[in-house]
């Protein structure tokens, strides 16, 4: 099978969907000729024109609001938010407007839009261009949240996001744009709410999101040589969350780690760990372990930044301790 980059996969997904449905348009900062700073959208304006690939002023709340109104009136906008950190700027339009409109209108209005943005640290971009803020939007009822972990996932999830009648926020890891993966030529979609068992194992379940799936896989590979068999689960979407696949795996392995690049406190790791604790408690041989990003603003210095996010080595080390029963601080 051919291999393409995650960037190309996203581009293909959007182009295919725009060819299929003329109500779709792209809107955001420097999405047309520039094709975004990451060049993910290069070539789309040449095919679809500036009426469908719309460059905006640097006005995130403004174009987010415009997209909400367009989505309520027959269009299907794809909003490009250049950095996930800018979510804070669009919160009212996304969370008070887009997320609640269907519910507040008793089901009469809908807001079929996709907000594509990114996450991920270690790009030496410091505290306002490096955050992983998916937990913020996952907290708000009415928003779906997709987290592709490879080029293959990015294409299939993007196509599903575009066809969904709800507001969907899709987070791409900006460090993965140039990473290649096998992606079929023929069309495929990846349904929301169906986790992927990326790797089967017996001793420990790692639930990991976005690029942390790759981190978990690397850790699992290292542990395999030591006789530790790790199952890796990619939820693909955190809203909706496929609890059943996660719980089934934990019932089998009796141990779980949750790995995510959002800040560890009040985040995705805590949510998933808590659900495992509530629903698979009697199957567990150890407390569920969380590994998120450190609870610090992302520092600029490489010497510091690399300390803040989970790494394959760090994950493997925690797994070893867990299997040796050494993790229980103060217990």
């Amino acid at each position: 099978m051919r291999e393409i980059t995650l960037s190309k996969a996203v581009n293909e997904a959007i182009a295919e969907e725009m060819r299929r449905d003329p109500t779709i348009f792209l809107i955001g900062e420097d999405v047309a000729e520039a094709g975004t700073p990451f060049k993910v959208l290069s070539g789309l304006v040449e095919e679809f024109g500036t009426e469908r690939v719309i460059d905006t002023p640097i006005s995130e709340p403004g174009f987010m609001g415009v997209a909400v109104g367009a989505a309520m009136t027959g269009s299907r906008p794809i909003v490009d938010l250049m950095f996930g950190d800018f979510l804070f700027l669009v919160m009212d339009q996304l969370c008070n407007q887009a997320a609640k409109t269907h519910y507040m209108s008793g089901g009469k209005l809908k807001v079929p839009l996709v907000l594509r943005t990114n996450l991920g640290a270690t790009r030496r971009s410091a505290a306002q261009h490096s955050q992983s803020l998916h937990a913020l939007v996952a907290h708000i009822p009415g928003l779906k949240v997709a987290m592709p972990s490879s080029a293959y996932e990015a294409k299939g999830l993007m196509k599903t996001a575009i066809r969904d009648d709800n507001p969907v926020v899709i987070f791409e890891d900006k460090l993965m744009y140039q990473e290649k993966a096998p992606v079929p030529e023929e069309e495929y979609l990846i349904p929301f709410g169906q986790a992927n068992v990326v790797r089967e194992g017996r001793d420990l379940t790692m639930v990991a999101t976005s690029s942390m799936v790759q981190v978990a896989l690397a850790a699992a590979h290292a542990l395999e040589g030591e006789g530790i068999s790790v199952e890796v689960i990619d939820p693909r979407t955190i809203v909706p969350l496929d609890e059943a696949t996660i719980l089934n795996s934990v019932r089998k392995t009796s141990r779980a780690m949750v790995i995510d690049e959002g800040h560890q406190s009040y985040g995705i790791t805590g949510e998933i760990a808590s659900r495992i604790g509530e629903k698979a408690f009697y199957h567990l041989d150890a407390p569920v372990v969380r590994m998120g990003a450190m609870d610090v603003p992302v520092p600029f210095s490489p010497a510091l930044e690399d300390l803040t996010v989970p790494t394959p080595e760090g994950v493997a080390e925690k797994a070893r301790k867990m299997l040796r029963g050494e993790l229980f601080d103060g217990a």
């Binding site: 909400v68 008070n96 407007q97 519910y103 008793g106 089901g107 009415g142």
Partner: protein, 343 residues
């Protein structure tokens, strides 16, 4: 380029025109203003008698704004509304029953009781909803205009907002885009003199219309108590917006008779009773329009009185219905969080 026209006739004085040409439309506008006033009188009573959950914001006094503008629109044209939105909803064609049911949180309400007073939406008539975030719908109206143009429709969007919302940054972001892209949107600023509990002069520096003019948007001031002046201007601007000559900005000088919300009773500290009495006596949009209709021979005084009685009876019947109507079933609490998508 941008020009600020003063299109208003002085309140209470009739614009020069032949009333007989258009008597159907005049009587329709009169009735719609009566309906808004009657709706609000009933809503206020529901609050005062503790029959309504929560609170609400009265539109009384501002009727000529909603009616003058909505009368210039088709059902396909879109509006976005505000927390003080009952008037827009009625003027855009909504029914009393579904509105009162919504105010009381009943299943038969426009939003099945999930929105309430501050979120009434009536998409069948192009009302994209009231918004409880001040200025929160400015992007939505602008997006509706973009959508219409992109999809080859000729509908126009009107964004209703108050003077208080001019302090929100979103307005400047979307006016900039609307002007750049020549979108068919009309920003209708209802300047009722008060931003919640504060005089507008204390929160808004400079001129309101100059804010729009800075973007090259044609902006107009009009007497918001004069339904004919509002309607004449709106008709002209809607037609031009439909032809691609938008966007436009209108400042409508008006007055809210009640406090910021129904519970804002003792308000002497920010607004005098004399001032309120003066507006009601001299600039009431319904009284003044009635006087004009009689003077022009469009209707006799007793016909207008009969219409008012009929509207009041309709409102009372709708309230009685809504009070008895069932609440939504508890199973609806987690319904409509998401659209069920087939894809």
């Amino acid at each position: 380029m941008a020009k600020a026209g003063k299109t208003s006739a002085t309140a209470g004085k009739a614009p020069a025109r032949k009333a007989s040409d258009n008597s159907g439309a005049y009587l329709r506008m009169y009735r719609q203003m009566l309906r808004i006033r009657a709706f609000e009188d009933q809503a206020n009573q529901l609050y005062l008698s503790a029959k309504m959950p929560g609170l609400t914001h009265m539109y009384s006094g501002q009727e000529a704004v909603a009616v003058g503008i909505c009368e210039a629109l088709t059902p396909e044209d879109k509006i976005t509304s505000t927390h003080r939105g009952h008037g827009h909803c009625v003027a855009k064609g909504a029914e009393f029953r579904e509105m009162f049911c919504e105010l009381l949180g009943k299943a038969e309400g426009y939003c099945r009781g999930k929105g309430g007073s501050m979120h009434i939406a009536d998409q069948s008539n192009g009302n994209l909803g009231a918004n409880a975030i001040v200025g929160g719908s400015m992007g939505i109206a602008t997006g509706a205009a973009l959508s219409a143009r992109r999809l080859g429709r000729d509908d126009v969007a009107v964004c209703f907002f108050g003077d208080g919302a001019t302090a929100q940054g979103l307005m400047y972001e979307v006016m900039n885009m609307a002007a750049l892209w020549k979108l068919p949107v009309i920003y209708a600023c209802e300047n009722n003199g008060y931003s919640e509990y504060t005089k507008t002069a204390e929160i808004a520096a400079g001129s309101l219309i100059a804010r729009a003019e800075a973007f090259g948007i044609e902006a107009f001031s009009v007497d918001g108590q004069d339904v004919l002046a509002v309607n004449e201007l709106a008709g002209r601007l809607v037609a031009r917006a439909r032809k691609g000559e938008g966007p436009f900005f209108i400042e409508l000088e008006t007055y809210r008779y009640h406090g910021h919300h129904v519970g804002d009773i003792n308000r002497d500290y920010y607004r005098s009773k004399d001032e309120e009495a003066r507006w009601k006596a001299e600039r009431d949009p319904i009284t003044n329009f009635a006087r004009w209709l009689v003077a022009e021979g469009v209707a006799a005084q007793d016909e207008l009185a009969g219409m008012a009685a009929e509207v009041k009876a309709d409102a009372e019947a709708a309230v009685a219905h809504a009070l008895e109507a069932p609440y939504p079933d508890v199973s609806e609490v987690d319904m409509h969080v998401f659209v069920e998508t087939a894809a």
